[in-house]
Symmetry: C2
Subunit: 260 residues, 2 copies
DNA sequence: GCGCCGGTTTCGGTGACCGGAACGCGGCGC
DNA sequence: GCGCCGCGTTCCGGTCACCGAAACCGGCGC
């Protein structure tokens, strides 16, 4: 990096991979946490470890592009980012194809319905139909959760390359609740079972009081595309019914699919 | 631009604003049309007007970032773009707040429901609840339409700064159907009426056979946030009912809003 | 075989990019 | 009022990240 012989000014760990302009742009854009609506220039400089001058220049350019917007000399992510994100094919076609069935599941069960894909070594939620105003819940649209403690995650694991499972087991399994499975052999066994019965379950392994049931979704060519799940408070969960509804959806999607 | 004394190789008009790395990245990312799932490197070079070498290098970096993915030596937009787009506050908070009411409208009317915001001089659709498998329709999530021929557009125009209306009228009004209003004075009059009655209408001005009704949405501080609309085939449209349902939603949102 | 068209790598010249320094401004404490 | 601090913004000279031409590699069709 030019003229950067000085020690990193602020908390290290940030600022990695800022060799190129794109790396800097990435740091800036990803400096926006999910919740904070807007961030000041100096704050951005602090979070990214990039000099204020440079942040200013790049932010100017991102502004003109529409990836950032500003209100009152604070920055926030701009609509162009939303537009771009909506074009992502792996997201758009899957959501458009599955949404009607998610509604069907929702009206049928009156519980929360998720659509998720495998991304890296995590579940990434593409869509969520929740019931009620504010369900105390870990999941969010575009949020991530570990593979080993979610129903969608187990479904995805079961039908992905074994390498993925190996990679997951290569590092310790994070514990989210007392019920979270952290013993590798137990997880392997569960994943095997999932392949046997065709659906995956999770019981208070992510959040106390909630359990989920999931099925995988496949494209016409047989590739794994994602997974749908139903999440319900344990006390009123009717898992057998969920399994029936989910497998029905899976079948319908496999039959008349508009999935490449 | 360094070493670029040569005339622009391919169709001009593209390649604008490619002075900087970010400009190039922008060209590359926006080279992906809504529908084409994946694009080859050479095709990207052609569309952007950037040399194949440079596209290759930048694409590599975007790949590592996750903004692009590749299958089989073709590129497509990546999940990172989706995640970024989902964080855009002007999108996320509005959608989360309005979605329940959109469902309510949908079950009530059995017709297509839209949520839109003003962006630049166009309507930008944030969310769409459609009925049936494939409604022949212009609108898409993250799609854009002109302000002057959509119900949401008129609603937004009516409650925005007058400058916006002036800017729209500064250029000729595009005609989408025979019913599209292209006479400035007529549009001005309609917008005035919208402010009077509190809702906006559009009748086969965007697509023959369809008409829409819309209301604006305001935050607690009184700023215009967006607009919701109901779109129905003309022959069965019950506009009075839509107006009632929409104004109810508008009131409910204004009362117990979670909008900043 | 040979030409063609994709993706990838090499390489030297240079201008886009960098951050320090300086500036103008508004808010706060003294 | 005055000085101080932190903010956003502008200027500027040094330099390295970035650029595209050219060469390279592999598959395909003729």
């Amino acid at each position: 990096m030019p003229g950067m012989g000085h020690p990193r000014p602020y908390g290290d760990g940030l600022g990695r991979g800022a060799g190129s302009v794109l790396g800097k742009a990435r740091l800036i854009l990803e400096a926006f946490e999910i919740d904070d609506a807007q961030v000041s220039l100096s704050e951005l400089a602090r979070r990214t470890g990039i000099s204020k001058t440079t942040v200013h220049r790049l932010a100017q350019e991102l502004l003109e592009w529409g990836m950032l917007e500003r209100s009152d000399s604070d920055y926030r992510l701009g609509m162009r980012a939303f537009e771009l994100g909506s074009r992502v094919p792996r997201f758009r076609v899957l959501r458009d194809a599955v949404r009607p069935y998610m509604h069907q599941l929702h009206t049928l069960t009156k519980e929360t319905v998720h659509l998720a894909v495998l991304d890296g070594l995590e579940v990434l939620f593409l869509e969520k139909l929740a019931v009620g105003p504010r369900v105390a819940h870990q999941s969010r649209i575009a949020g991530r959760l570990p593979l080993h403690c979610t129903a969608t995650g187990k479904a995805l694991l079961a039908y992905s390359s074994p390498d993925v499972l190996d990679a997951v087991l290569a590092r310790p399994l994070e514990r989210l609740t007392p019920m979270t499975i952290v013993v590798p052999s137990l997880l392997r066994e569960q994943i095997r079972k999932v392949r046997e019965v065709g659906h995956a379950r999770e019981s208070e392994e992510t959040a106390i009081g909630y359990c989920s049931t999931a099925v995988p979704l496949f494209g016409s060519s047989g590739v794994l595309l994602g997974a749908v799940s139903v999440t319900a408070p344990t006390f009123r969960a009717d898992v057998a019914r969920y399994v029936r509804a989910l497998t029905a959806v899976r079948r319908e999607l496999a039959a008349g699919d508009h999935l490449n």
